[in-house]
C-alpha cells in the first residue's frame, strides 16, 4: 500500500513541472517516444508517479535520465501536458535529491540564490586573479607571466578535486536510490567492474539520443558534448603540457589547437542555436525555460566566447585585452563548472551514463539472483 501524496506534485512545480495533473494517462507519449521501451517505459509512468506523489518509486527510477527531451511527446500530447518538460523537471528534482549539500535545491528553486552564487564565484575569482596574478607585461602578450602556471595549476587541481568529490558523492546517493527500489538486489562488486564498459560507452557517445526521430537534436547535443569533452581533456592535458598558457603559442596547425578550435566552434554553435531556440520557443524542448537553463546557457556561451576572444587577442598580440578577457573567462568558467557540474545541468552528463550503468548492474544482479528462485517454484 502506498499513500498518495499530492504535495510531491506541488514540490515539483518549483522545478517546472506545472502540468502534471493535466495529463490524462493516454499513453501517447510513451508510445511515441523513440527511447522508451517495455523494460523502461516513460514518460507516462514517471508522470503518473509524479501525479500520485509516489516519491520512492520516482527516486528509484532511472528513466528520467534516459529522456533526451527530443520533444516528440510534447508535440503530440493530446492534452498539451508537455511530458518532455515534466521529465526535465523530474531530472532537476532528482538532481536536488541526489545532492546531499542542499545547494542544488537552492539553486533550482531560488533565482536569488542562483544569481547570488554565480555572482559570488564570479567576483571571488576576479578577486583571486587580482590578488595573485603575475606581472603584467604590456609590450608583448605574456599570458604565462600574467597567470603563472605554478599558481593556476594547483588551484585547478584543487578545484577539480572538490568538484569531483561533490559529483561522485551525489552519484553514490543516486546509486543507493536506484538499487534500493523494487526488488532487493545485492550486486557483487565484480559486476560493477565488468559493466564499466557500459558507463564509458554511454558517457562518450550519449548514443541513446540518436534514437530520437529528429536527428538534429542528437547532432546538436553531440556537438556540445564532444566540444565540451574535448575542451575538458585539453584543459587537463594543458595542465601538464602547458602549451596554451605559454607566451609563444603553438602554430595554427598544431593538433591541440585544431581540436580547441573545433571545441570552441561546436560549443558556440550549439549554445547559440539553443539560445535562439529558447527565445523563439518553437520546439517543445525550448518552450519553457527554467531560470537555470538560461543561466547555464549564458555562462557557457560567454565562457566559450571569452575563451575565443583570449585566443584572438593573443593571436593579434594585444596584451591588455588578453589579460582582462582571460580574467573574465576564468571568472565565468568557475561558476559554470563549480555550480553546474555537481549541482545542476552539467551533472546530467554524469547521471545519464551512471543511470544506465546502475540499471545494467541491477539487471545483471537480478539475473544472477533469478535461477534459485525458479527452482523453488
Amino acid at each position: 500500500m502506498t499513500r498518495v501524496n499530492p504535495e510531491l506534485a506541488k514540490e515539483l512545480e518549483k522545478f517546472g513541472a506545472k502540468s502534471a495533473t493535466v495529463c490524462f494517462n493516454c499513453g501517447n507519449c510513451t508510445a511515441v517516444c523513440p527511447l522508451s521501451n517495455n523494460s523502461t517505459p516513460f514518460p507516462r509512468r514517471i508522470i503518473r508517479y509524479l501525479q500520485l506523489g509516489l516519491e520512492e518509486r520516482l527516486l528509484g527510477r532511472m528513466e528520467p535520465w534516459l529522456c533526451y527531451y527530443c520533444g516528440e511527446c510534447s508535440q503530440t500530447c493530446p492534452r498539451q501536458a508537455d511530458p518532455g518538460e515534466l521529465m526535465m523537471a523530474t531530472r532537476r528534482y532528482l538532481t536536488t535529491r541526489y545532492d546531499w549539500t542542499g545547494l542544488s535545491k537552492r539553486l533550482y528553486t531560488s533565482k536569488v540564490w542562483e544569481v547570488f552564487c554565480v555572482g559570488i564565484l564570479f567576483f571571488a575569482t576576479l578577486a583571486v586573479i587580482y590578488l595573485f596574478h603575475g606581472p603584467i607585461v604590456t609590450d608583448h602578450t605574456k599570458l604565462e607571466t600574467f597567470a603563472p602556471a605554478d599558481i593556476v595549476h594547483p588551484t585547478g587541481y584543487v578545484f577539480g578535486a572538490v568538484l569531483a568529490f561533490f559529483l561522485l558523492s551525489n552519484v553514490y546517493r543516486m546509486h543507493k536510490f536506484i538499487m534500493r527500489s523494487g526488488e532487493r538486489v545485492n550486486a557483487p562488486l565484480s559486476l560493477y567492474f565488468s559493466e564499466l564498459g557500459t558507463l564509458a560507452v554511454h558517457f562518450a557517445t550519449q548514443a541513446k539520443l540518436r534514437l530520437c526521430t529528429n536527428k538534429s537534436f542528437w547532432i546538436k547535443h553531440w556537438l556540445l558534448m564532444s566540444g565540451y569533452t574535448a575542451a575538458f581533456i585539453l584543459v587537463n592535458v594543458d595542465l601538464v603540457t602547458r602549451w596554451s598558457l605559454t607566451d609563444s603559442p603553438p602554430p595554427a596547425w598544431h593538433p591541440a589547437k585544431i581540436l580547441w578550435t573545433y571545441a570552441t566552434i561546436a560549443m558556440l554553435y550549439a549554445t547559440t542555436v539553443a539560445i535562439i531556440g529558447r527565445l523563439r520557443k518553437r520546439e517543445p524542448i525550448h518552450k519553457y525555460s527554467h531560470s537555470t537553463d538560461w543561466m547555464f546557457l549564458i555562462l557557457l556561451w560567454f565562457t566559450v566566447f571569452t575563451g575565443l576572444l583570449v585566443r584572438i587577442f593573443m593571436q593579434f598580440d594585444l596584451p591588455l585585452p588578453t589579460y582582462y578577457t582571460f580574467a573574465v573567462h576564468l571568472a565565468l568558467a568557475v561558476p559554470l563548472l563549480g555550480l553546474e557540474v555537481p549541482f545542476t545541468k552539467w551533472s546530467h552528463l554524469a547521471y545519464r551514463p551512471f543511470a544506465l550503468y546502475f540499471e545494467r548492474v541491477r539487471e545483471r544482479a537480478l539475473q544472477l539472483q533469478q535461477p534459485p528462485q525458479e527452482e523453488e517454484a
Binding site: 502506498t2 498518495v4 493535466v22 494517462n25 509512468r45 503518473r48 501525479q51 500520485l52 492534452r79
Partner: protein, 627 residues
C-alpha cells in the same frame, strides 16, 4: 365475399439484409403464379422513393386490388407503405406488410434454405390475408387542445410551457407540494453554471404567464385511462391545511424535522414552503404537525378529487437517485460517506468553509459508477461523470484549499463536456482508474477516511487515499409511478419507460397518445431532458395543432344476422365497449380498443375484428398448412 385477384407482391432485399440469406428471387418465383397474384417483384430497397414508386406505378398501371410488401418489421414501415398505397389511390388497408427480415433472414442466417422457405410461407399467408381483405377507413378523431402532463420537474415544466404557447390547455400534475422536481437541489448546473433553483425559477415564472396551464400540486393520481383524444385522469389533490401566510407565521411552528429537500442536512418546520418555487403557499406536513394551531391552520380542508381530461398524456415522472446499500463503499457505516445529490446540497448550503457533520473537509474522494454499470443496473447513468466533475469544480471554486480525487472507471465526459474533465486536471485533481472486479474500499482510520484502491494506470499499484469526505457518484433509477400500470406503458430492459423506436419514434410509447419526456425514459441531463420534453410537445402538436388524430380501424364488427344476443361478449370486453340493443350486440367505436376478445367467445361467430377477420386467418392457415 369475392376474393381479390390482382395482388401485387413486393419482396425487399433490404440492401442485402434480407437477400444475403433469403433467396428473394425464389420467393418471388414461388408466389408469382398463385391465382390471386397479378405481379411479384423484388427490389433492393422497397422503402426508398424508387421502391415506393414501383408499387405506386403498378397500382396505377396494373390496377392492383391488393398489395403485399415483405420486408422489415411492420413496426418500422407499415405506415410508409400504407401511405404509398393511399397516394396511388388504393385503400391503405388493402396493403399487408409482413416481416421477412427480423422474422426470417436475421434469425435464420444459419440456414439459407430454411430462411427462404419461411419467407415464402410468410408471403403466402399475407397473400391469403389480402385476398380476403376489406376496405377499411381509419377512424378520424377530433382532438381537443387539451393535454395532461404528469410530473412537475424540469421536463414537465418545459412541456407545459411549450404546449401552452402553442395554444393548448395543459393540466400539470405534481405529486409533491411544490413544482420543480430534483433540479433545484443542484448547486450549479452544467453547462450554464447557473444554479438549479435559478433555472427552475425562470421556468416557473414563465408557467405563471400562461392562464391555460392548470397546476395541481400535492396531487395523487387515483386512476388514469382512455385513449388518444380521450384520456381521463382522476387526481386527488391533498389539502395544504393552510392559506398564504407570512414567514413570521411559519417561524412560529414549534416542530422541527429533517428537511428532505436538503437530505436532512438542515431542518424545516412542520409548516414549510420552498423558495423559488410554486405555489407560494406553504403546506403542513401532517406527519410532523402537533396541531398547536400557531400558524392559523384550517384542518377542515378536505382532499379534492378532480377528474381531468386530455387528448394526450405526457409522462415526465423523472428519476430518483440510486440509494447505495448499507456498507456499499462504507455508506451509512462510516461517517462522511455521502451521495452526489447530498454533496450538491452541502455545496449549496455551506459558506466560507466546507464542513460535514461539523468537521472541516479538505480532501474529497469521488467514487464513480455507484449503482451503474454493474450486474444489478447494467446501464450507464450518463449524467453522473459530468455532474461529478462539475460539482468538484464548483467545490474547488467555492472553497479554498480543497483537494479532490476522482476514482473512476471511464470518464464519460462526452461532447463539449470534455472541457470539464480537462479543467479538473488543470485544477490539480487526481484521477485514479479502478477495476470493477476490484472496486475501491472505504475504511475509517482515526478521523480520516481511507480509500484503498488499485490503480490501473500504474499497472495495479495499491494506493491509499486519505480523505475527509467520500462522495458516491450515484446513478439514476426510474421514479416509479402507479400511472405506468394504469396506462400499461411498457418498460425497457433497464427499467425505464420504453419508447417505440429510439430514432423513428423516440418520444412515443406503444400506447397511442402517451408520450415520454425527460428522464423517465432513461438517464438524461437537463439539456437532454428539456430537449426531449420539447420533442414530446412536437409530437403532441402534430395532433393538437392539427386538431385531429387518425386511428387504426381495427375494431370489433358485429354481424347482426348471426348475433343472437347471448351477451357472452359483453362480459368479455375489457373496455365495456359492447352493449345489447334490441337483442343484438353493438360496439361503441370510441371505446373499442380492438383486442378481439369478444370474437374469441362468440358462440355464433357473429363477431369479427376488422383487419383480422376470421376467414382471413383461416385462409392464412390454409395457405401454408397444406403446403
Amino acid at each position: 365475399m369475392t376474393e381479390r385477384t390482382k395482388i401485387g407482391v413486393y419482396v425487399c432485399h433490404c440492401g442485402g439484409n434480407i437477400s444475403d440469406y433469403v433467396d428473394v428471387e425464389k420467393v418471388v418465383d414461388s408466389v408469382k403464379d398463385l391465382p390471386n397474384v397479378a405481379v411479384a417483384r423484388h427490389f433492393v430497397f422497397m422503402c426508398s422513393e424508387a421502391g415506393q414508386q414501383l408499387i405506386k406505378d403498378d397500382i396505377k398501371n396494373l390496377g392492383l386490388d391488393g398489395v403485399v410488401v415483405a420486408s422489415c418489421s411492420p413496426h418500422l414501415h407499415e405506415k410508409t407503405f400504407r401511405d404509398a398505397a393511399k397516394a396511388a389511390g388504393l385503400n391503405p388497408y388493402l396493403l399487408e406488410h409482413v416481416c421477412i427480415r427480423e422474422h426470417s433472414s436475421w434469425v435464420h442466417s444459419d440456414n439459407r434454405e430454411g430462411a427462404t422457405r419461411k419467407a415464402t410461407w410468410i408471403v403466402k399467408t399475407a397473400i391469403a390475408k389480402i385476398s380476403l381483405a376489406r376496405e377499411l377507413q381509419p377512424i378520424r378523431l377530433d382532438v381537443e387542445r387539451e393535454a395532461i402532463v404528469i410530473g412537475g420537474g424540469i421536463a414537465g415544466l418545459r412541456c407545459a410551457i411549450d404546449l401552452a404557447r402553442a395554444g393548448s390547455t395543459v393540466h400539470l400534475i405534481e405529486s409533491s407540494p411544490f413544482l420543480g422536481g430534483r433540479v433545484p437541489q443542484i448547486y450549479k448546473l452544467y453547462p450554464s453554471g447557473k444554479s438549479g433553483c435559478e433555472i427552475v425559477e425562470e421556468l416557473i415564472d414563465e408557467i405563471k404567464r400562461y392562464p391555460n396551464i392548470k397546476i395541481y400540486t400535492n396531487a395523487e393520481i387515483l386512476s388514469a385511462g382512455g385513449a388518444i383524444g380521450d384520456f381521463k385522469v382522476t387526481v386527488k389533490v391533498n389539502p395544504r391545511y393552510v392559506g398564504k401566510v407570512s414567514d413570521d407565521v411559519i417561524a412560529k411552528c414549534p416542530v422541527e424535522v429533517p428537511d428532505e429537500f436538503n437530505y436532512g442536512l438542515t431542518k424545516r418546520k412542520a409548516i414549510y414552503k420552498r423558495e423559488h418555487s410554486y405555489p407560494d403557499i406553504p403546506v403542513i406536513d401532517m406527519d410532523a404537525c402537533t396541531k398547536c394551531g400557531e400558524c392559523n391552520p384550517d384542518f377542515d380542508q378536505q382532499p379534492q378529487t378532480i377528474e381531468l381530461k386530455g387528448s394526450l398524456i405526457v409522462l415526465a415522472t423523472g428519476f430518483k437517485p440510486y440509494e447505495p446499500e448499507e456498507g456499499e463503499f462504507g455508506y451509512k457505516v462510516h461517517d462522511g460517506v455521502i451521495t452526489l445529490p447530498v454533496f450538491e446540497r452541502l455545496l449549496a448550503l455551506s459558506d466560507g468553509k466546507l464542513e460535514y457533520n461539523g468537521k472541516e473537509v479538505r480532501d474529497i474522494a469521488f467514487i464513480y459508477c455507484v449503482g451503474s454499470r454493474n450486474e444489478e443496473h447494467e446501464y450507464c447513468s450518463r449524467y453522473c461523470c459530468v455532474a461529478t466533475l462539475n460539482a468538484s469544480l464548483g467545490a474547488l471554486e467555492k472553497f479554498d484549499g480543497l483537494r479532490a480525487y476522482h476514482i473512476y472507471r471511464d470518464i464519460r465526459a462526452y461532447g463539449k463536456y470534455e472541457t470539464y474533465y480537462e479543467e479538473a486536471g488543470k485544477k490539480k485533481m487526481l484521477f485514479i482508474k479502478y477495476d470493477p472486479e476490484e472496486p475501491p474500499v472505504v475504511e475509517k482510520s482515526g478521523n480520516k477516511l481511507i480509500v484503498r484502491v488499485k490503480d490501473l494506470l500504474t499497472a495495479g499499484e495499491e494506493l491509499e487515499v486519505p480523505v475527509d469526505l467520500v462522495v458516491l457518484s450515484v446513478g439514476m433509477l426510474p421514479e416509479m409511478s402507479e400511472v405506468f400500470t394504469m396506462l400499461r406503458v411498457p418498460f425497457s430492459r433497464d427499467g425505464f419507460l420504453q419508447e417505440v423506436h429510439p430514432k423513428l419514434r423516440p418520444v412515443e410509447t406503444a400506447i397511442g397518445g402517451v408520450l415520454l419526456a425527460g428522464a423517465c425514459q432513461g438517464p438524461k441531463d437537463t439539456v437532454e431532458a428539456t430537449a426531449s420534453a420539447s420533442a414530446a410537445v412536437a409530437k403532441a402538436d402534430t395532433y393538437l395543432v392539427k386538431g385531429y388524430a387518425e386511428l387504426e380501424p381495427f375494431i370489433a364488427e358485429i354481424d347482426p344476422e348471426k348475433c343472437d344476443g347471448c351477451e357472452e361478449c359483453v362480459g368479455e370486453c375489457p373496455t365495456s365497449a359492447i352493449s345489447i340493443k334490441d337483442g343484438k350486440a353493438v360496439v361503441n367505436e370510441a371505446l373499442c380498443k380492438g383486442c378481439g376478445a369478444c370474437g374469441g367467445v362468440c358462440p355464433t361467430k357473429a363477431i369479427n375484428l376488422r383487419g383480422y377477420y376470421y376467414d382471413q386467418l383461416e385462409k392464412m392457415i390454409d395457405s401454408v398448412g397444406g403446403d
